[in-house]
Amino acid sequence: MRVVVDFDLCESNAVCMGIAPEIFEVRDDDFLYILDENPSESLRAKLEESVQRCPKQAISIAED
């Protein structure tokens, strides 16, 4: 699975970083960085929770 973030929507609320710090990081410049674009299957639950909890619906999962 691949992490897709719509950076036009993202407002760096950092919720995803709280749920899945292995995948997401908001840095001191207030921008979101994807640390692991193709996370392992073991992170699926955290990634799905990040998708649900993103206040901007900016995160999705691509299955490829």
Binding site: E11, S12, N13, A14, V15, M17, G18, E25, V26, R27, D28, D30, V51, Q52, R53, P55, Q57
Partner: protein, 410 residues
């Protein structure tokens, strides 16, 4: 035999309850009702992007509304009474038709309604911001280019509306009855900082003054607002007035149902309100062990968490499993101008508030709240990483001094 679940309320809490019921094993019908014909939308944009630009309501649909969950969503349908003994809801459709629904499990997520000023019903130019229709009506009045907008109530909704109006180049007066805005939520010192953000952006901020009455004129038989008389004796001329003075919970239909009502539905610490009945979202009052308080939380994220928890509570009941205590650390955000205010936890006005990072003058800082030696809240302005990371310390029950030391080292 499959069972029927009914969810009352198709907003964030209700939709997440329905979603969780389905995804976690409820096989029977899931009926979701809501009186709002446009329901299943996300509310945070209503005071921000949706007011700022010509956004189609489709653009703010909830994520859960776009999923294929096999829900039976009935919009325009209001619950009017609950019979706990018979497991039956009375309903009324907007066309007037009366009906009833049998349920095996019930989630109540009827939320809250915006409070209005007395005697302002039907006065053109006076608005609240709670629904898509509210926001569309306000946007239309803002599009008309009012001389000035008066926002009554400098809470988070009022602050966001004021910021959005300034972003549209409109003149804004922000009126707050208390000497300091947001004092109950953030304490006096941080409330003053939030007020200063508005002053810096050219808002005419009037603190410690209430509304005496509206000045109106009658044109073609319609009363229209042209100004606001404040209790300090001044008159502020304005064509648009936005009232952001909090909400009242939508529990009227539950009077006499047997559920315990007290500014919300009183639930146990697992969100169960009665056998087979759980509540979620703004309406759910529960006891938090973490904060040793009974409260209800009106935050966006709490509505998701509560909806999920209410669904799981009912599934556990059906399966004879042990329930899970609902006690997440509250978190919310408010975007105003180019500032992002975020709060984790549940501070109170009497807590210690200590700035541990950044600069209040630059509106970029982190403030920690302590009570009885424990960390109970983290406030950030344009510090999202800190707020999210420090939220974990509230979860852990960290001591205030340890938490401050860790925050200062970040």
């Amino acid at each position: 035999m499959t069972s029927t679940a009914v969810v009352v309320g198709a907003s964030l809490a209700g939709m997440n309850a329905a979603r969780t019921l389905r995804l976690e094993g409820h096989e029977g019908a899931i009926i979701v009702i809501d009186p709002d014909l446009r329901a299943q939308y996300d509310r945070p944009p209503l005071s921000k992007q949706f007011l700022a630009e010509d956004l189609d309501p489709e653009r703010i649909m909830l994520q859960s509304a776009k999923e294929d969950l096999g829900l039976d969503v009935r919009l325009g349908t209001r619950a009017t009474a609950l019979d706990l003994g018979e497991h039956r809801l009375s309903t009324q459709h907007v066309d007037g038709a009366l009906s009833s629904l049998q349920y095996d499990s019930l989630v109540i997520a009827t939320g809250a309604s915006a409070r209005r000023l007395p005697e302002t019903a039907g006065v053109a130019g006076v608005h609240v911001v709670r629904t898509v229709d509210d926001s569309l009506a306000l946007r239309a009045d803002l599009d008309a280019g009012p001389r000035r907008v008066v926002v009554i109530g400098a809470g988070f909704i009022g602050g966001e509306v004021a910021a959005t109006c300034r972003g549209r180049g409109l003149e804004v007066t922000l009126v707050e009855a208390m000497p300091v805005p947001l004092e109950r939520a953030l304490g006096a010192a941080m409330g003053e900082v939030c007020a200063r953000v508005h002053v810096e952006h050219g808002v005419d901020v009037r603190l410690g003054t209430g509304v005496e009455k509206l000045e109106t004129i009658t044109v073609d038989g319609i009363d229209r607002v042209v100004g606001v008389h404040l209790t300090d004796g001044t008159l502020v001329e304005a064509d648009v007035v936005v009232v952001g003075i909090g909400v009242t919970v939508n529990t009227g239909w539950l009077e006499g149902s047997g559920l315990t009502l007290d500014d919300g539905i009183v639930c146990d610490d697992t969100l169960l309100a009665a056998p087979g009945v759980a509540a979620a979202g703004d309406i759910a009052r529960y006891y938090s062990h973490r904060f040793d308080r009974s409260f209800r939380i009106e935050h966006w994220e709490h509505a998701i968490a509560g909806g999920e928890a209410a669904a799981r509570r009912l599934l556990a009941e059906q399966r004879g499993e042990a329930p899970t205590i609902f006690d997440p650390v509250p978190w919310f955000w408010s975007d105003q101008y180019d500032r992002k205010i975020q709060l984790s936890g549940r501070p109170e006005a009497t807590d210690i508030a200590r700035v541990v990072h950044g600069s209040v003058e630059e509106f970029r800082f982190v403030t920690m709240y302590g009570r009885e030696g424990r960390l109970v809240g983290v406030l950030g302005m344009n510090r999202p990483r800190h707020v999210i990371q420090l939220r974990g310390l509230i979860e852990e029950g960290a001591s205030f001094e340890d938490a401050c030391a860790r925050a200062e080292a970040m």
